[in-house]
Subunit: 246 residues, 4 copies
């Protein structure tokens, strides 16, 4: 049997400490729910890390052994230390996959990789979301039908402040009248990045079968083909004889 | 006659202070040469700014009146203060154009907008560069033929650590055996970005007619269509009546 | 005052001949309504052509003097002669702009330029359409707000069988639960192509101010920067001395 | 052991019939050489087909059992029957992979999928080609170093008449002074397409280890994730209750 994909689910983990409602929705934390959901796959080795762990749980040793990092944050983006963001960024550029969830659109690491504002419209009205699968042949939509629904979600609406994605995988429809590019891919040097909109701290999104299927597919898609020890700017000798300078 | 495009040419300006050779090549500084070259166009109002100016010459007042910023830096990227980088980034996202030159591939502002490493290979052998125009219908190549040459340049070689460009405009050929994506475009929120490879502190690249033509075209292409005061994440009311929640 | 943009509005023109309802909506034909709407702009010189004209109104002489071709067809795509399609395609590749409207997603010329199926879902229920402007800084959305609405339209739904667009300009929301990439751009050699979803033979879409504004912007965006007489595969001499072969 | 990938190598096969030199280079035909080279992989089931076979060897039955089609043609593009081109296109859109080699840039099927001219510059001087790997983390470059060389090739030079690729994988350097986007990917509906420049009827390109490695990787990349029986435009019922029309 093949090598497992080492996945770290990172969660800010603050909502769980302050809200009974969140604890009821996610007794083991959002990270716990995702790790449990994906951990049922034979090819995934799951770990978790949170903001309040030493070095936010993202030590050099942890990252050196991480193939794909899943990121959930919301209320404490600004507490993530810049040096850890740079460490994660460095690791992505050298090959690690990154999956950013929901309110992670304003996380330091997502904005750092994108260069854009991450802006969007939002509304917490518990309305339905229908995600249209517009890339039915993409590895991330394997086993997903033409669309799937989540009964109660926070709405996110366009315009979404992201660079033109390599591929827009999902577009969401909301009954309040908005649309959103809910699944998007990019590459940054050797790292693959997937943003996936669904998620919330009280709606039980991360137990949903389709959501877990998309995340499972996305982890396999984002797993590195190549990891390099560094990305340098070498001074190189010519490969062909240069003409003598006049 | 129409409104002029307000262009600021930013130069690190350190080579000029330390090297007689650079001073001979660019008696008014690299920024001075570019400002002079572009300033011959009736639709351009040129200013310059350098690292050693107060706030690097990029005060709020200056940026509020800048349509396109041209960036040249090399030896002192790390001395550019992070708060100024964030100020420039904010202005780009809200509509200002950015043109990054040559060794600016490792500048804080370029890496901040791209999210990638900026890595490349390099060699200072004064070899020839031939730039192939692979987007002959693009506004940036107006008046440029199928290729043009620069007699003595520093070589940059692939792989170049950039996100997949919206458009690759030029690919360079070097006699030593390398190739390079020498002109590339991206967008970040409302800002348009062009990277242009040619340039060096001692080779007189910025007096070349084709180089100035490309920069002139690029300024016109990058000039904002729309500038907004801020990019927020508003909480919005539904546009359609929402069904009552069960 | 500058050179005008020569625009030809092509309409299949069959609905107008067979349906009183269509004649009431478009007494001068869909082509007439669009030509009249755009013709109010000082920089546009409008002509029209229809399927039943000799050579479908697209003679060599007409195309040689066309900067941008607007295409509307629906029930008689198959009657467009292949040789005329090839003539139009050749002209696009050499620089002419193409704007394809609504049911033109299944026209020979659109499928010929895209290479894809053009498939989509549809429903004629006269429902509302809300078009979200997701590229607010693009020339095609100049003067268009964050969204605009059309009170009664035919619905088109994803998945839409198109190549990944260079830019998705509009995403539509429909009350029946679908979404659609309603404004998309591509380039094919020197030609710029814009697909714009709104339109119908009985709903008076082409009198709408926002629709006409988008079409006006799109014509200016698609107008050629460069037109060449042919696109050949020349046998060329080396630009550098080749080493002698062993 | 998993399901094999069914690969058909299509070769025009005319050079082999008319030229001793070609027969010496490819005693079993270009198709034979490629089928032999790839057939050493345990996951590939190889077949071949040629222009002079009934229905060019591409019957419905053959295509129904093909995962990836490799295409080589040169002197007889115009003899490929349009109905077979449409059959191949239909199959690509429904999921089959397509790999187009070298002079296939002017084949009917490639131009049909791209919509562009396919134009390029060329020279038969037996010069060296160096292919730079600019997507080192892409599945198609697995096991390929930063660059590889072919000692004697026909030169192809930019500008290349193709749509902006999803990814440019290789850029070639030629000693005569040209560059070329030698490996490019696109998607068309459910089908993945890879163009790979190297190849010639007398230079023994398709025995080269790096070339075979790239083709092996490309077959695995292009193999379908999803194949559908048809791509229709269904008339659909609303998913949400529509408001009554006034």
């Amino acid at each position: 049997m093949g090598k497992k994909i080492n996945v770290v689910v990172w969660n800010e983990g603050r909502h769980e400490k302050t809200s009974d409602e969140v604890r009821r929705a996610y007794p083991n934390g959002i990270h716990g729910a995702i790790a449990e959901g994906l951990g049922k796959q034979a090819d995934m080795a799951m770990k978790t890390a949170t903001l309040d762990d030493p070095e936010h749980g993202l030590t050099e040793a942890v990252l050196d052994n991480t193939d794909v990092l899943i990121w959930w944050g919301h209320m404490a983006h600004h507490e993530v230390r810049d040096e850890i963001v740079e460490r994660v960024r460095d690791r992505i550029l050298r090959g690690m996959g990154l999956i950013v969830l929901h309110s992670g659109h304003m996380s330091k690491i997502f904005l750092r990789m994108m260069g854009t504002s991450g802006r969007l419209k939002w509304r917490e009205a518990g309305e339905k979301e229908r995600l249209w699968n517009i890339e039915p042949g993409h590895p991330i939509t394997e086993g997903i039908g033409e669309h799937f629904e989540l009964p109660h979600t926070e709405m996110y609406g366009e315009p979404f402040g992201i660079p033109t994605p390599d591929k827009v995988i999902f577009i969401s429809w909301f009954p309040g009248g908005e649309v959103f590019r809910s699944g998007c891919t990019w590459e940054r040097d050797l790292g693959r990045i997937f943003y996936f909109r669904p998620g919330h701290e009280t709606f039980p999104i991360y137990y949903d079968g389709n959501v877990l299927k998309v995340l499972t597919n996305a982890v396999r898609w984002a797993a590195p083909r190549l990891v390099v020890p560094s990305l340098d700017c070498p001074n190189v000798e010519p490969l062909e004889p240069l003409p003598a300078r006049g």
